[in-house]
Amino acid sequence: MSILLADIDTGATAWVLISTALVAFMTPGLAFFYGGMVRSKNMLGMLMQNFFAMGLISVIWAAVGFSLAFGGSGQYIGNLDFIFMKDLAKIAELPGYTGDFGLVIPILAFFAYQMMFAVITPALITGATADRMKFSAYAVLIGVWSILVYPIVARWVFSPNGWLFKRGALDFAGGAVVHINAGAAALAVVLVLGKRRGWPRDAMPPHNLPFTMLGTGILWFGWFGFNAGSALGANGLAAQALVNTHLAAASAMLVWLVVEKLRAGHATSLGAASGAVAGLVAITPCAGFVGGASPIIIGAVAGAVCYLCLSLKTKFGFDDSLDVIAVHLVGGIVGAMLLGVFADTAVNSLGADGLFLGGGASLLGDQFIAVVATLVFSFVVTGIAAIAIDRTIGLRVSTEDELIGLDQSQHAETAYQS
């Protein structure tokens, strides 16, 4: 079988392939996590937006996305060397992935793994814009976004050739590239889109919390691939990342529930789900750079901070329907900054030492720059795109369609029947 390469590690390849599958499974998981929280008339609209991302973004990624993110030697953007996967099955190494960063897996496996990240990132936005966005506008928005925003940020942060990577900013599995990036974009779109009719006056309770729990289970499961797969090997680092991932989710869940119990009187299942996800988000940048009890602390901070940030949306009056900003944007920032504190070169010699491990504030500074750069870039470009779409085909469904619900108005379907 001609494409077998001599220096490929089959264990690493097995792990990255299954991690790819796990990350791919997260988008359906996300669909149910969010879908359970909307009203039943918008259920299919939510599922559809997420599944559709799997279709559209994957093809865009193959066509240009990967190449823009990982082609060539530019610091700010890739090139078009790899459009439609050109040469990926043949080349010996990917630009920048040499020496310490050399891959021990087939480049196509790396391509596939990264593709799943590119898919789920814009899908995160659907939680903020729930219940009122036109399907056609959504399709255009995430299409544009996957060319103009995602690959650029991925280049900066993930590629060893990117300027933030070179500066020393660390992001093991996408705290900035995925969560801050999507969270900032969500904020921009929500500001252009406006509030749901009736918000915040009317209660819009979740229509099927079991589906939200199911989604949480799938997300948690998939996140092992998301974070531990980012080791790109089947080794102690992957094991460490997996342990960190799980413990951060666990501790964030506990802290969220405690804070919730104290402030709102009950520990809720939605709180358990939300806390776990907040912890998973926060540990994402840190997963392969921290050790010991750090993941428990990082999760705990994320659980508390994200919970407390839920009220931002009512305070500032933006209708982030399912709290993408409090969970992903805030959680991503918490993780990125705490990495500056807890990073440990004993865990990963390619990382750095954070504030608490004697590394001084320099990593913290780099992390701060990465956070701000990602946030501002994503917010601005997404905002412009959203405004452009709104002025042309319109971002938002009609009032009538919003009242009827997206399932019927956008897709001519009904979720539940006898």
Binding site: A203, P205, E260, R263, H266, L270, G271, L310, T314
Partner: protein, 112 residues
């Protein structure tokens, strides 16, 4: 004939059904509904926000009976459905002009 409609607490449905069977009632129709009343609702919590849910789950029973037994049936339901706590529900009675059994076409008392 009378149509008796009762709105009761959901967990009382088995007791009421058994009591009506014992009282000789042979048929009824049951609907899951939500009720608004003095009982007030309850508070639900979603992501830190509290919502007042003032529609609480209830079960609605309707049965057509002969005039002669209507009062008794009302009593039977009342006793079986009562917990003495607020929210136990209501029973109301309206007049039925005609009733038909679909299978046979029988009318009036025979159709019940």
């Amino acid at each position: 004939m009378k149509l008796i409609t009762a709105v009761i607490k959901p967990f009382k449905i088995d007791d009421v059904k058994d009591a009506l069977k014992t009282a000789g009632v042979q048929g009824m129709t049951v609907t899951e509904v939500k009720g608004f009343g003095r009982q007030g609702g309850h508070t639900e919590t979603y992501r830190g926000a509290e919502y007042q849910i003032d529609l609480v789950p209830k079960v609605r029973i309707e049965l057509v009976v002969d005039d002669s037994v209507a009062n008794n049936v009302v009593d039977v339901i009342r006793q079986a459905a009562s917990t003495g706590k607020i929210g136990d529900g209501k029973i109301w009675v309206t007049a039925v002009e005609q009733i038909v059994r679909i299978r046979t076409g029988e009318q009036g008392s025979d159709a019940i």
